[in-house]
Each structure stands twice: as structure tokens, then as C-alpha cells.
């Protein structure tokens, strides 16, 4: 199906077409050129240097707090109302505020990405921990497990499928926010590359940037699925 679309696209570019549409073969050629000339890789590095710390920070805090809030009632009552109330707020609106407080550089982007990743991770880990089978906890207690052991050996494994679902949503969100923050203001990164080449009419470079974004998004998602399959080996490997 995808191949058919590509062939059709290639075929369509044989006819008259506007300048800003390039055929897939041309895009592939420019992509290889850009990788070879070292034009692309620094931007990929800059983007990953923002997305990965943001994702790691936000999802780590989100998962840990979500799991704890799912288990401990006092933390639940303290955190959950705030999280669920602010959940539908589009997190990108905090970019101007964060920019104001910590400057326009990488830190503001990382913080906004972390904030956006926090929510899906927290909510999924929370429901994962709350959905722990009561019988499992009882039998654990019955066999003399301590609180910490129950948390590690029963609650966490039980919540993992939902935690991974949350991580997957957070990963997609981190990429959306990465490229939008880079398009809004940055001096490097793929979002900047796309925006810059668009406004200077370098359509070849623009498409190279878009392809690189697509490849990165797809590759990181696949990586997460592979890790999930490893960690959740006992569960049917879902898509």
C-alpha cells in the first residue's frame, strides 16, 4: 500500500507540478547527499539532545509518582486532583512562561517536553497501579511479603502494560513538542532546519528534514516496542 502510494507519487511528478513538490527518488537522493555532506547529522544530534532528556525526565517522574499515587492514598489525594484538572490544558502554552524563567535555550524546551510527557505517564501508571489484582496482593501478604516487596513484585509488574502504553503516548508527544518548539525558536535541530529551509526556498533540504523526522519518530517507537516485548515477555506482544 505504502509502496503503491510512493510509485503513484513518483509517476505524478513526471507531469507538470509546482516547484515545492519533489519526487520520492529526488528526496531520497538529497537525503543521502545531506547525510554524506554532514549537513543533517548535527541537527539530528541537537534534536535528540532535547527530546531524550525531556522524555526521560518527564516520563520517569510521571511513572514513579503515578505508581506511588496509585498505591498511597495520601499522595493520591494530594496529586490526583491537580493532575486530572490540568490534564486537558495544552502544555505548549507553558513554553512562553518557561522561556521567560529559564531563558530561550535548550533548558526551556527540555522542561516543556518533560511537562508534556509527565501527564500520560502519570495517568497510565496511576491506573495501572490501581488496577492491581487484590487477590495477588493478599496472597503476597499471606506468604509473608513486606510492603516494599509487594510494590516491587506485584504492583509494578501488574502496572507495566499500562506504563508502556503511557510511555508510547509520551514519546509521540515529545516529538510533537520538540519540533514545534524548534520551529518557534531555535538555532539548531530538525524543526529549525525544516523551517529555515522552507523560508529560504530550499525545498530539497526541507524534505530531507521531514524524512529525518519521520525516520526518528518511527525508529524510536519501534525501539520502545522492542523493549516492551523484552520486558513484558510473559504478555502477548501487542502492537
Amino acid at each position: 500500500m505504502l509502496a503503491a502510494v510512493l510509485v503513484l507519487w513518483e509517476f505524478a511528478t513526471w507531469f507538470e507540478h509546482p516547484e515545492f513538490i519533489l519526487s520520492p527518488s529526488e528526496i531520497a537522493r538529497h537525503f543521502v547527499e545531506a547525510v554524506w555532506s554532514g549537513e543533517l547529522l548535527p541537527h539530528v544530534g541537537a534534536s535528540l539532545g532535547r527530546a531524550l532528556p525531556g522524555f526521560a525526565l518527564g516520563s520517569l517522574i510521571g511513572v514513579v509518582l503515578g505508581l506511588l499515587a496509585g498505591v498511597a492514598r495520601s499522595l493520591d489525594q494530594l496529586l490526583s486532583p491537580v493532575v486530572f484538572l490540568t490534564y486537558p490544558v495544552p502544555k505548549i502554552v507553558f513554553l512562553p512562561i518557561v522561556m521567560l524563567w529559564v531563558g530561550i535555550g535548550d533548558v526551556s524546551k527540555i522542561l516543556v517536553i518533560a511537562l508534556a510527557c509527565f501527564y500520560p505517564c502519570f495517568i497510565n501508571a496511576y491506573y495501572g497501579a490501581r488496577g492491581t489484582s487484590r487477590i495477588m496482593v493478599w496472597s503476597g501478604l499471606n506468604m509473608g511479603a513486606r510492603q516494599g516487596q509487594i510494590f516491587r513484585k506485584v504492583v509494578v509488574p501488574g502496572a507495566l502494560p499500562l506504563v508502556f502504553a503511557g510511555l508510547r503516548v509520551a514519546l509521540a508527544l515529545s516529538f510533537i513538542l520538540l519540533f514545534s518548539t524548534e520551529m518557534i525558536n531555535a538555532r539548531s535541530g530538525l524543526g529549525f532546519l525544516i523551517r529555515q529551509s522552507e523560508s529560504s526556498l530550499r525545498f530539497d533540504l526541507m524534505y530531507v528534514g521531514i524524512v529525518a523526522v519521520a525516520v526518528l519518530g518511527y525508529a524510536s517507537d519501534q525501539l520502545l516496542l522492542v523493549i516492551r516485548r523484552r520486558v513484558l515477555a510473559w504478555q502477548e506482544a501487542g502492537r
Binding site: 486532583p81 486530572f84 486537558p88 521567560l100 510533537i176 518557534i184 519521520a214 524510536s220
Partner: protein, 261 residues
């Protein structure tokens, strides 16, 4: 009685937390540690909110954003539900479209925005198309998953009672899928809000995202924060609206996850 009492208690806790947050902010603003440009006081933000609300121009900005977000979302809802049900109920459509959606799902569509600007112009249309595309995926995926889990016995008994294929689709499959459809809507609507604000921040001359960036660029921090408050309230209100609508339409199943309290 007790449920009502619990609801009141949880509402009270929320208000208390909100009040605490406001108080901490005001104390930080009054402490003089930071310049009012960085942490403007609540009263300043409130004044700006009033200024925004009293000016017809700012209402037009908000209306532009709402129009774009809801337009793209509505389009995605109609197309997404139709595609999802089709993919779930027809093996051919599922095998052709399924791989397309699952393979392009993790690709950030926002990167296509510059191309859309060239294709559809720098006005509203390019933004609406991008919102449509970003909202389409969660709606299609959840509807697809839901329509495959329709109870077979229901389908059989409807067919047995002589209901036509279209009738089965409309009277059995769509209602049975409705909880999933609304789950997809609840994912898609915040995405629509995110994308409309982002695209307005990147390139626009109207809308709330533009207003926030413009206020920041002209060092009107208090006004920017007022706009942020408006956007946040809008996001919460739209989400509440979807939940209300869901509870009305899917009255036979209580919403368990998300806002379970």
C-alpha cells in the same frame, strides 16, 4: 448521599489546592525577589484578563482559535469514525488501511506543516488540515479497536431478526463502539488544542497562540499569562464538554478511568 458528600469533599479539596497555588504565586510576586516582568502579580493578571474579556478584538482572537481547533477536530471525528468502523467491520479495508495507519502513526505529522503552508496557504486552511491529520490517528485507532470487539451474539441476533447490513452498522456496531469512539475523542481534542496553539505560535496573525507569543515579545508578561489562563480554561472546558456528551450518549456504561473520582 455519601456519593454527593464525597463529590463535595473532592471539589472542596480542588478549590483549596487552587487557592493555595494562587496564594504561593502572589507571595512570590510580592516578595520582590523577582522582577514583576518575570512573576507578575495575580491582580495584574486579573486586570489583563478583564481587559481581554472587555475587548471585542480579543474575543475574535479566541473565536479564531476555537474555530480552527473544532473545525479540524469535527472533520477528523467524522472521517475517523467512518474509517475506523469500516476497517473494523470489513476485512478488505482493514488489511489495506490498517498497515498504513499503524506504520505512519508514530511519525510526528507536525513536521509537514511547512509543506501544508505551501499547499493550502498560510491562513486557516493549513492549520485545520494539520489538526485534522493529527486528530485522525487516535480516533481511527480507538474506533478500529472498538469495532472489532463488538459482541458477536448481538450481530448474529440482529442479522437473525432480518436487520439489513447498514442497519446493523448503525444500530449495533456504532452504539457498541461508542465508548471507544469517545475515548478517541478525549485523546484527540487536547491534541487539537495543542496543534492550534502551536501553529498559531509558528505562523499566524490571529488566534490565542499568536496573542500569547506577541504579548511575550512585547514584554507584556501579565497579558501573556492572562492568555495562558484563557487557553487552559478553554482546554478544560472542551474536555468537560466531551465528557458530558459521552455521559449523555453512552448512558449505559459509566466512565471508569480518567476522572474516576
Amino acid at each position: 448521599m455519601s456519593a454527593w458528600w464525597l463529590g463535595l469533599a473532592s471539589g472542596f479539596r480542588r478549590v483549596a489546592l487552587l487557592a493555595l497555588g494562587v496564594a504561593v504565586w502572589e507571595a512570590a510576586a510580592r516578595s520582590g525577589l523577582w522582577s514583576p516582568l518575570i512573576v507578575p502579580s495575580i491582580t495584574r493578571i486579573g486586570q489583563e484578563l478583564w481587559w481581554l474579556a472587555s475587548r471585542p478584538e480579543s474575543l475574535i482572537e479566541a473565536w479564531a482559535s476555537i474555530q480552527r481547533a473544532l473545525g479540524g477536530f469535527a472533520l477528523a471525528a467524522v472521517v475517523g469514525v467512518a474509517l475506523g468502523v469500516l476497517m473494523g467491520r470489513s476485512a478488505l479495508a482493514g488489511s489495506v488501511l490498517g498497515p498504513v495507519f499503524s506504520s505512519t502513526y508514530p511519525i510526528p505529522k507536525i513536521a509537514l506543516f511547512p509543506v501544508f503552508i505551501y499547499l493550502f496557504g498560510i491562513g486557516s486552511l493549513s492549520k485545520v488540515v494539520l489538526i485534522f491529520l493529527e486528530c485522525l490517528y487516535p480516533i481511527v485507532v480507538t474506533t478500529h479497536a472498538g469495532s472489532r470487539t463488538v459482541n458477536r451474539v448481538l450481530l448474529w441476533s440482529a442479522a437473525n431478526m432480518g436487520v439489513s447490513r447498514a442497519g446493523i452498522l448503525w444500530r449495533v456496531v456504532v452504539p457498541a463502539t461508542a465508548p471507544f469512539i469517545f475515548a478517541g475523542f478525549r485523546i484527540a481534542l487536547p491534541i487539537a488544542m495543542i496543534v492550534v496553539i502551536i501553529t498559531e505560535m509558528i505562523s499566524s496573525a490571529d488566534g490565542l497562540g499568536y496573542l500569547a507569543m506577541y504579548s511575550l515579545a512585547s514584554f507584556k508578561t501579565d497579558r501573556m499569562l492572562a492568555v495562558v489562563v484563557v487557553i487552559a480554561c478553554l482546554g478544560v472546558a472542551l474536555d468537560r464538554l466531551v465528557v458530558r456528551l459521552r455521559d449523555r450518549l453512552v448512558f449505559w456504561e459509566r466512565l471508569e478511568s480518567y476522572y474516576a473520582e
